[in-house]
């Protein structure tokens, strides 16, 4: 809801001054035509008060309903209609109040057309000014919204970049390489290669790109190899892929974050060895991927443990498919399962 122009003190004063000038003018004119002062004042007060009400009504209506585009006929008819109502009401009240003055009825009849045209003009002006005012307010609000949206988009992009770089993973991997260089230089060299390939994969792929499960699995393997060097025999993985699903497609860079999430959840929630299992199969028109990790049901509520990683995946799936039911989770004893369905028909 936008602010009425009358909410600004300066405009309110101008508006009231104009109205007072109108009232005074009205009295002078009627007196000039031979009406006694008292009658002229009553006449002016009644007609101008009603006119004031009509103006406020128009302003308030436009506050909630602003005509779009070429609806000027509508505005014109509303003004016309309001002026007629105003005229009828004024006439009725004036008659009741001032009938006993000699010659008043004739004066009223004669002046009706002038009263009508002046009021119509004034009401028209107020309407136009209000429309301009509210249009400008709307424009300002629109601009604000636009800058807000742009700011949000920029923040999201920055966040995405930071996520892609994964500083924690990167620095820990570099630290492992640093340790390998001294005693096992061959392995260090291999790990540098894997880390480079992994990072290159992150950078070169667009999030909107579609890849086959086979490609995504190769990329995932790089990641898993690095993590296994980092965590030694605490981390084991088992990958079970249905023959028929290797060529099914999924959005690039989707699988690795899911597995990463499971690994983090598993490794940081238990002190034992962590087995991460990955299953993929075709079910009707969907590629279904399941990733399991162990967790400790006593100390972590899976909601918290699953954490941020899954939320961003859910968001991505929603943006891609406009469906919120593609990511689900399941808990059986101490095993947490993440299930992702990827529809195959609309590729």
């Amino acid at each position: 809801m936008s602010k009425s122009p009358l909410s600004i003190v300066r405009f309110r004063i101008i508006f009231i001054l104009c109205w007072l000038v109108m009232v005074a003018d009205h009295i002078m004119v009627l007196h000039f035509f031979g009406l006694p002062w008292q009658a002229a004042i009553i006449d002016s007060a009644i007609s101008n008060s009603l006119l004031l009400l009509a103006c406020i009504l128009v302003m308030n209506t436009l506050r909630y309903y602003l005509p779009r585009g070429k609806q000027y006929i509508n505005i014109f008819s509303i003004c016309l209609f309001l002026t007629i109502i105003w005229l009828l009401l004024t006439k009725l009240l004036l008659k009741l109040a001032l009938e006993h003055y000699p010659g008043y009825n004739e004066l009223l009849q004669q002046s009706l057309s002038i009263r009508f045209s002046i009021s119509f003009l004034l009401l028209g002006c107020v309407t136009m000014i209000s429309i301009l005012w509210f249009n400008q307010l709307e424009q300002i609000e629109f601009e604000e919204r636009k800058t807000d949206a742009e700011k949000l988009a920029k923040e999201a992009e920055l966040f995405k970049l930071r996520q892609q770089l994964q500083p924690h993973f990167l620095f820990n991997s570099l630290n492992s390489i640093n340790a390998l260089i001294g005693n096992r230089p061959e392995e260090a060299r291999k790990m540098v290669q894997q880390l480079s390939d992994f990072l290159r994969g992150t950078i070169k792929k667009e999030e909107t790109q579609w890849v086959t499960l086979q490609e995504e699995l190769q990329y995932l393997q790089l990641y898993l190899d690095i993590e296994k060097v980092r965590f030694g025999n605490r981390l084991t993985t088992a990958i079970n892929i249905d023959e028929t699903s290797f060529q099914l497609k999924l959005p690039a860079l989707l699988l690795q974050p899911i597995v990463e999430n499971a690994i983090k959840f598993g490794l940081y929630d238990t002190t034992d060895e962590t087995l991460i299992e990955l299953y993929a199969s075709r079910q009707e028109n969907d590629l279904v991927i399941k990733v399991t990790n162990p967790f400790d049901p006593e100390t972590s509520s899976p909601k918290q443990g699953a954490g941020f990683g899954l939320k961003s995946i859910q968001r991505r799936l929603y943006l891609l498919f406009a469906r919120a039911d593609l990511l689900s989770t399941d808990i059986k004893e101490n095993i947490f399962t993440t299930i992702v369905k990827i529809p195959q028909h609309n590729i």
């Binding site: 640093n178 060097v229 605490r234 940081y268």
Partner: protein, 246 residues
Amino acid sequence: MSKIIIIDDEPLARSITKEYLAKHPQLELMQECNNGFEGLKAIQEFQPDLIFLDIQMPKINGFEMLELIEQPPSVIFTTAFDEYAIKAFEAHAIDYLLKPFNQERFDKAIAKWSEQKLSNTAKTTQDLLESASHSPSQNQRIVVKNGTKIKIIPVHEVQYLEAADDYVKIHTAEGYFLKNKTMNHFENTLDGQQFVRSHRSYIVNIQQITRIDPYEKENHVAILRSGIKVPVSRSGYGKLKEVLGL
């Protein structure tokens, strides 16, 4: 000879610290530990002078582990945390080594520690913990020692906290646990939208409240789902009303 313990969940990370440590014959490595639990045991057993401690580790992180030790040893953090995140603890840790780090940087940290030890200006690990407790993961759970066992209490399971001399009683459905902290500490670290200091000696989990009744003049009492009544002072009532949006 000074006694050293390394606590890190990544074997290669431990091995590089060990390698750098070998250049300092006056430092004796007592044990390498895989996680906070092993770390606790080793610290109790060997009473080390200095520990190298990773922050992100399974089950309990480095800070939570330190909290469970009555007189924590000097600490040098070895972590891949970004600098920004670690800045808060800078003032209180002997030093922190950002992974990956080299021998030179490592030697510097050791020198800093020896210096502080000699001049007896060693920063207390207690101060460090107080500043660490404001990091975001810390307000999701409370780690306590229950006899020899370590108990991790997710904060949503906490019903209310009660002051008890130098300790705070943490009441859950399973009974209460003691933690050597102040009420102010919990008031500051727990999420203010979920935990409200209803009384000088009580902090209550608002999700556990079923109703609030008047109690004597000017006071109130909050009745929890478990039927327990928690005192609410006049100012506490104001805070509760604000959080509950009454």
